[in-house]
């Protein structure tokens, strides 16, 4: 990527300093595969296309941060070669591997499927590597693994990394793992600032984002179904949604996909007992007092 090409792309948009900044980063991205180097973005991009190894260390550290970013989003990432041998995994993926429910690693470092599942990682990887460049719009393959007994499942999105530099014909395959049991907790501050939720509503929103139905919410929080309905009605009004499914969609789109609350990624799942549950009960006690103060009356209190 030469300097001339950069100025050509700059002319495409307007020539305000903001846009030129954006264009510069996107040019850096195009030449260095989604990678720029701070203020020397253009220079380093040009360097990299010349095959200079000077930035190797930097790419490595960026990759470490990228793995962490995926952890923050609760996405497992496995990088394998064409023979399904594991080259790199982030913490979330490690947790899924440790669970030995869906995917495991054998002694040789090759990914294997746990017993009884139809989809094998080898199969997915083979399908991705065999897909030629003609499927440009869809460079990925999807597969889902459902637990034999139980309702947990993970979705695998496999893709060939889009390499720009020609050295990188390593034949790596990216496997992104999405697990329905990996919870993302949304901070109540975020929900308050976006939708103006009260703390009780924010807590309810977190349960809704965990896939709990009205009845589940009422038995989990040990409150009356009418109270759940009351909170949900207010949430509908604040998010301008008309049904439960629409509320879920709006919550996910605005904040729910990103883990934004304190602590580790502890899920508030239906079956989970112990610390998260205790926390919720403490919070609930406080919220109920707030609720009755503002006039909901004693109907908020569990029987």
């Amino acid at each position: 990527m030469s300097q001339t090409q950069m100025s050509v792309s700059c002319e495409k948009g307007c020539d305000c300093p903001i846009c030129s900044g954006v264009v510069r980063t996107s040019v850096g991205r195009a030449s260095a595969n989604a990678y720029i180097d701070g203020e020397n973005g253009c220079k380093s991009a040009a360097l990299r296309t010349n095959g200079s190894p000077s930035l190797t260390g930097n790419v490595q550290s960026m990759a470490a941060i990228a793995l962490e970013a995926l952890d923050c989003l609760n996405i497992g990432l496995l990088v394998t070669n064409a023979d399904c041998r594991l080259l790199r995994a982030n913490k979330t993926a490690q947790r899924i591997l440790d669970g030995r429910i869906f995917v495991t690693v054998d002694a040789g470092g090759v990914l294997r499927t746990a017993k009884g599942l139809r989809t094998t990682p080898a199969d997915v990887v083979r399908r991705v590597t065999e897909a030629d460049g003609s499927e440009k719009h869809r460079p990925h393959v999807l597969a889902t693994m459902r637990e034999v007994a139980g309702n947990r499942e993970i979705t695998i999105v496999a893709a060939k990394p889009q390499m720009v530099s020609e050295h990188s014909a390593l034949g790596t395959v990216l496997l992104l793992l999405f697990s329905t049991s990996q919870g993302r907790t949304t901070s109540s501050e975020a929900l308050t600032s976006i939708f103006g939720f009260t703390s009780a509503e924010a807590m309810m929103a977190n349960l809704v984002l965990e896939g709990l139905s009205r009845n589940d919410c009422s038995s989990y929080l040990r409150i009356q179904p009418t109270t759940v309905a009351f909170h949900l009605k207010n949430m509908f009004r604040k998010t301008r949604s008309r049904c439960h499914a629409q509320l879920i969609s709006k919550l996910f789109k605005a904040i729910g996909l990103i883990h934004s609350a304190s602590g580790d990624t502890t899920a508030i799942t239906q079956g989970s007992v112990g610390k998260p549950l205790a926390d919720i009960e403490v919070q609930l006690g406080r919220d109920l007092r707030i609720g009755s103060k503002s006039g909901h009356g004693p109907c908020c209190l569990p029987k």
Partner: protein
């Protein structure tokens, strides 16, 4: 000449970075002075609109009272990142001229903490106005959904009610209910909310990878 070993590890690192481009959430990596070190595809898209969040000389800035402030200089974000409360995660909703506010989640990256000079911050951006959806091929591959069922699923995911979907499809209420029943059967879910939840949970962060390249649902008759 780069040695083979070094070459491979660079390729591996590039592959990992490329994984962030598959996501539908914007991801940015900033250094301690809000200089952008990395920007993924979606973040680049959102920033190119120069609305709410702006990139000036590679510094991520937010307009506050008519002037632009680097994101880490904003008092609430700075104090939030420096305190250990809430694990240094700050979420903010950023107003913009067009559409609903952007949601930004800022947190400290800890993987390089051993080196003080390379303190980095992760920024995630969610744009509620970006269309969400899963390509029909993917839905067919995963759950065996038909053409109409895939459209229905995408509209439901986008926050449309069943009645709105019915009008878009131009069918009777009983027909749209039949389609929904079939989708629920194929995905193994019990109701509409559960379906939307499952799709967001499984594919919400990668779903829209290919939707933009598909023909719009209005001319599906010709393509079929």
């Amino acid at each position: 000449m780069i040695s083979q070993n070094c070459n491979n590890s660079t390729a591996l690192a590039e592959a990992v970075l490329g994984a962030l481009d598959l996501l539908t959430a914007g991801v940015l990596v900033l250094d301690s002075s809000s200089q952008v070190l990395f920007v993924n595809r979606v973040a680049e898209d959102i920033l190119s609109e120069c609305d709410g969040l702006e990139l000036v000389n590679d510094v991520l800035q937010i307009p506050v009272d008519g002037r632009r402030v680097p994101i880490q200089e904003i008092p609430a974000i700075r104090s939030g990142l420096s305190t250990s409360r809430n694990s240094g995660i700050v979420s903010a909703s950023i107003r913009r001229n067009s559409g609903t506010p952007l949601t930004v989640v800022v947190r400290n990256a800890v993987s390089l903490a051993r080196n003080e000079n390379t303190a980095t911050t992760l920024v995630f951006i969610l744009d509620p106005d970006r269309p969400v959806g899963i390509s029909r091929t993917d839905l067919h591959q995963l759950y065996g959904l038909t053409y109409t069922e895939s459209n229905l699923v995408n509209w439901l995911m986008d926050g449309k009610t069943l009645e709105e979907c019915r009008l878009l499809l131009g069918v009777r209420p009983s027909t749209v209910r039949m389609h929904l029943r079939n989708v629920l059967g194929k995905t193994g879910t019990g109701n509409q909310s559960e379906l939307v939840w499952l799709l967001f949970k499984n594919l919400g962060l990668v779903g829209a990878v290919a939707v933009g390249n598909e023909p719009s649902p209005t001319n599906h008759k010709m393509i079929c």
